[in-house]
């Protein structure tokens, strides 16, 4: 019996029979329906995914005319940074990297970001970051973002000034943990606003808040309030990219405009991001490394399709290492990465990646 070569969610090759491939696609979709509370894929969409993975060619793509816009988190760190950013360590400046992404790689947009890609460490050196953005704006044609992560954990001890909720919660000190998170949120918001305003002043096209809600609902609230203020007072385009598929209730009681933040899935997250005034939303669906890539892709596009259906702003799905169906491996294999890419566009109906 002929088998179909694909990969597991950890990146390793696996051979599936046609029946196993169909079963994995249906099971991934079913998991999305159960956990994400989204509608199932249509039969024609499952057939498309089957053909996508059964095709023997190494590289696939979208149909001509279905191309989407690329935005990128992590900025040009991919080229000049080290393994910490999945970087390849090229001896290039950020400005040189921007030109490479524009002219050699033909990206539609790009970010400037710091190697220590978080708003807290960027704040004291914002002048250097702003000059980097200015120089990129002078010499490039495509839109230029500044990007960083809220990285809430940096505000808790030992890295930050506030008591660590992760220490307080196991001890049953719930109210203290909640109080600490609110103090962290205020500090995080202040840093994000400080940096973003500098970028607005130098004429950046946009600002990106990457891995939003990595530490749960308090971090999401800090980002939403930051977005709201920036949307009202600057001309920055604002992108909010998530860290995970649902929002952890580390605080548990926080709301934004009457909606509880804990437990939100992408089709619910996008409505709050829209209300705050953002321009782009980047949903995440986490890869299960113990399941096949077809399973993960079917699950991911089911969840993102619903997000895209209800959205009123452009959706730029996260389809990188460990998200959007892509295997959780440092060097994502292009044979499955291009399949994740095409599936997210053709079935997920996204506006960008």
């Amino acid at each position: 019996m002929s088998t179909i070569r694909t990969r597991m969610g950890d990146g390793y090759v696996v051979e599936l029979t046609p029946e196993e491939l169909r079963a994995d696609l249906r099971a991934g979709c079913a998991d999305a329906v159960k956990r994400g509370k989204v509608p199932p894929l249509e039969e024609a969409e499952l057939d498309y995914l089957y053909e996508l993975f059964a095709y023997k060619g190494r590289i696939v793509g979208v149909e001509p005319g279905h191309e989407v816009i690329l935005t990128k988190d992590g900025s040009v760190n991919t080229l000049y940074s080290a393994q910490l950013s999945s970087g390849v360590g090229l001896p290039l400046s950020r400005e040189q990297c921007m030109r490479v992404f524009e002219r050699a790689f033909c990206f539609d947009t790009m970010e400037i970001g710091h190697p220590d890609y978080s708003y807290k460490p960027v704040k004291p050196i914002v002048a250097l970051e702003a000059v980097g953005v200015e120089q990129a704006l002078l010499t490039t044609i495509f839109p230029v973002f500044y990007g960083a992560m809220p990285n809430f954990g940096l505000y808790a001890q030992p890295d930050g000034p506030f008591p660590n909720p992760a220490d307080l919660l196991p001890r049953g000190r719930i109210e203290e943990a909640r109080e600490a998170q609110m103090l962290m949120a205020d500090a995080c918001k202040a840093d994000m606003l400080y940096v973003a305003r500098h970028m607005a002043d130098v004429g950046a096209d946009g600002i990106n808040f990457d891995t939003t809600a990595s530490a749960g609902d308090a971090e999401l609230l800090a980002v939403l309030e930051t977005v709201e203020e920036l949307a009202a007072t600057t001309d920055l385009a604002i992108e909010v990219g998530m860290a995970a598929e649902f929002v952890l209730g580390f605080h548990g009681q926080l709301e934004y405009k009457g909606t509880r933040l804990a437990g939100l899935w992408p089709h619910q997250q996008v409505k709050l991001v829209e209300q705050a005034g953002a321009h782009l939303f980047g949903p995440v669906v986490n890869t299960n490394s113990r399941k096949s890539t077809p399973w993960n892709v079917a699950r991911a596009v089911s969840i993102v399709k619903e997000c895209s259906r209800v959205a009123e702003i452009p959706i730029h799905a996260n389809v990188g290492m460990g998200v959007g169906g892509v295997p959780m491996f440092e060097v994502p294999p292009p044979d499955v990465l291009t399949r994740c890419s095409a599936a997210m566009v053709e079935i997920g109906r996204v506006d960008g990646l």
Partner: protein
């Protein structure tokens, strides 16, 4: 890179930067953003990601081309023409 080859519009090689600007400035979903740019450039939707069509048109409109052509608008010069062509704000132009 895999995404750029599989799904990307192609940036300044085609009209990816222009369509992106409509998403960023006007929050347009992709079909609307593509139609807007196609109308402004007076091309069909199928031409937007066609580098054969767009290479010549971008040079004619002087909005920046992918190859290094002496005398062609580059960087912020090209963005000034893009802003006028698309009737859209490009924030860095306020510095000029």
């Amino acid at each position: 890179m895999s995404h750029a080859l599989a799904s990307g519009m192609g940036g300044i090689r085609t009209t990816g930067d222009l369509v992106a600007r409509m998403q960023l400035r006007k929050k347009m979903r992709l079909p609307q953003a593509k139609q807007y740019v196609a109308d402004k450039l007076k091309v069909g939707l199928d031409d937007l990601a066609d580098s054969t069509v767009m290479r010549a048109l971008r040079e004619e409109l002087d909005i920046g081309v992918i190859t290094a052509v002496p005398g062609a608008r580059k960087g912020i010069e090209a963005k000034r023409n893009i802003a006028a062509l698309l009737d859209v704000e490009v924030p860095c132009l306020k510095r000029l």
